[in-house]
Amino acid sequence: MKINVPPDMQEILEEFLVEASEILDNLDQDLIDLENSPEDSELINRIFRGMHTLKGGAGFLNLTSIVELAHRMEDIFNKVRNGELKITSDQLDILFEGLDRLKEAIEMLKEESEIPAPEEIEDILKKLDSILESGSSISENEKINQEKAENRESSGNDKEKPQRKLKFKADVPEGLKKLIEKYPDKDLAGLLEEIILMPPEERPMDIIPVIEKLIEEGKEIKDLVEIEEEKSDAEPEEKAEPVKNSPASSKKSDLPQDPEPQKAEPQKNVSKSATKEKKKSSDVIRIDVERIENLMNLVGEIVLDRNRIMRLISQLEKEVRSETIEQLNETVISMDRTVSDLQIAVMKLRMQPIKKIFSKFPRIVRDLSKKLGKKVNLVIEGEDTELDKSILDKLEDPLIHLVRNSLDHGLETPEERVMMGKPEVGTIKLFAYHEGDHIIIGISDDGRGINVEKVKQKAIEKGLITPDQAKQMSDKDAYSLILMPGFSTKDQVTELSGRGVGMDVVASVIYSLRGTIEIDSEEGKGTTIILKLPLTVAIIRTLIIGVNNQIFSIPLHAIIEIVKYEKEKVKSVGRFKSLVLRDEVLPLFSLNELLGIKESDNKKFVVVVKVGEKFIAVAVDKLYGEEEIVIKSMGELLENVPGIAGATIAGDGRVILILDINSLLNDVKKELLGVL
């Protein structure tokens, strides 16, 4: 179902989308918590409010199927909080499904400006209704015809309590009096809502500004009438009442002449505690990522200019000696500090807590373990650890894959565990912490661990290594075999782990972020996988080197040391050259052969890089020194060039390529396994 949002509502729609995604993400966690503490009334209220806000927002935008779904779930939690209903684990599954459908709908709305057609959500609505019915005997029909029901109720009220005839103050307009009498339980914001729900021809348009003004002045209905306090006491509770009747809400979008009251309405319609939350979050502003990206780029340019100026000054100092230059130097040093601070400050803007991903795991683990019949206790540590948003965004899939792997392949079934003398409930730990300018993200389980021999056997079968290589291989090297392309195979992929993402894809994502993966395992005891990632991707320190008069830069984090190239230390071993460095023998390549460019006979230096657990020597012609650079993308056409991580612009305006040593060595890595 296509949704057409008028241009003046576009902003509201965008705000709604952001808010809705946030609410849904929180609800995921809340529902999990609910399973563990079903009596927590604060929690139940929170879920109820979340659904309520979602429904309200969707109502304005006439997103009928979202309203329907949220409405049902809201009703369910309304019953739960009134003690009329207790949620069973199976019912929770349905609620989760409902939540997923809502997420899908929001996603659809975001991507294609469509929402599911009514018949598409029929099945889930039925399921949700079955929960409702299990609570009390309110029938489905009655809920759909809520409007009627409500009218009946209110008219019934009038008859039952004729004493409620109100006396109004003199300055209250006639239309408003009627309204207040018709909806005695509503507060002013509620009345405004009722007006919007009315058919257009019956809508008393002149009353809207009056009510708005009253709300602005902080007046309440009791300020307009001369009645006893008791009745208005009921109001705060009523405020939390759900926005009733979704079918009528479809008329709202016919009312574009008054976007202001519509927009203001959901906030006034929520309960008091929610208002408090709103206040707290007003200290926070949302900024488009694009703007931050732009700022980051500009800061990047300043960093480059600073580097240029500093180089020029040191040249100038050599050429001329003068007081002014000294002063200039001091000024630039001070600017240098400011720029560094600025760089950090902007970087921090992009930092987000890893909670954003971690919070999805309780749900994933719950669903998976249920499906697999395994018992798991998920421990999450360091969820407030922050890292760059662009890294964070790319980590979700790899982490999900790793956790699935742990659950599926790592953990044993409860029976197996008991037999092995382990606690019946397995533990998966997800943790994150900072280490220097890196972030460490790890996942560990106390499952069966990795069987080294099995891995080696498989690698031999797949032709990844030879039996000889297998024999010489250390355990750690063997573990890293599972990261190689072509290792995970179809026959091993189960419904859960297999989503077309193998460990090799996980590894390549991590490498592309200039991170490393370390696998540690003990058979029978468990496996730990550690991801080490840089805090930011935009600015890195590199070594500038040259071959064949071409200049390249290598990220410093990959470099262990630099030594002079000495011919007598180079030996030929089989197909490979190697370099004797102190007591070690390292495989040696010229950068030319790795890059596939013409060989030069001009090697002066050897850069020793660390790839996985290995040191590899790379010979180059020239060294230009160290430089902080800003990575720029080379555009879509060249995004998949192996060995090139990106490019940067040098002081003279030329483009310098940034090498990705890990992927550059990918081709030779396979052959190298076990050679050492």
Partner: protein, 168 residues
């Protein structure tokens, strides 16, 4: 509903104009080898000369390298081979060059040309849809040809097929 009505009206007017006068098309003409080639001006971002091009190892063959376009990194390509024209790059191509920057599916992409002729205008009706086998260019990358007044044949390139995801 109102908006839709408005749109419909607009369309109608355009149709009337379209049927009366053929649309004028403006291309930037340039030479590739001995062929005169044109690309519609809407697809061209800018024309630039003598840029420093940094070769990119392991990139696709038609990518000559990357250049700095006001702080942005833009790939520079050679299209002759794709078009079936003999490719002979001079040695100083990495610093002496004429580049047309195009707006493609992959973002901004530069193509190396031999000589820039300039703007050429003609009417849509002048385009002959099916180039016969007489021109030496791969047909799938051609939108059509135009017989110019000076008897020259202008070949209009289809940049969409040259820079498409399937193609690379």
């Amino acid at each position: 509903m109102q908006i839709e009505d408005g749109k419909q009206k607009e369309l109608e007017i355009e149709e009337i104009v379209g049927s009366a006068v053929s649309k004028e098309i403006q291309v930037i003409g340039f030479e590739l080898g001995s062929e005169l080639v044109g690309i519609p001006i809407e697809e061209i971002i800018e024309i630039t000369t003598d840029k420093d091009i940094t070769p990119v190892p392991k990139s696709p063959e038609f990518v000559l390298g990357v250049m700095n376009l006001r702080g942005k990194i833009v790939p520079v390509t050679t299209v002759k081979k794709k078009l079936g024209i003999l490719e002979e790059l001079p040695e100083d191509i990495y610093s002496k060059n004429k580049i047309i920057i195009l707006d493609t599916e992959f973002g901004e992409v530069g193509i190396i040309v031999d000589e820039i002729i300039g703007s050429i205008k003609f009417y849509e009706d002048d385009i002959l849809p099916e180039p016969t086998g007489t021109i030496g260019i791969e047909i799938k990358h051609i939108k059509g040809v135009v017989q110019l007044e000076n008897d020259k044949l202008l070949i209009i390139l289809n940049t969409k097929t040259i820079f498409s995801r399937e193609e690379s």
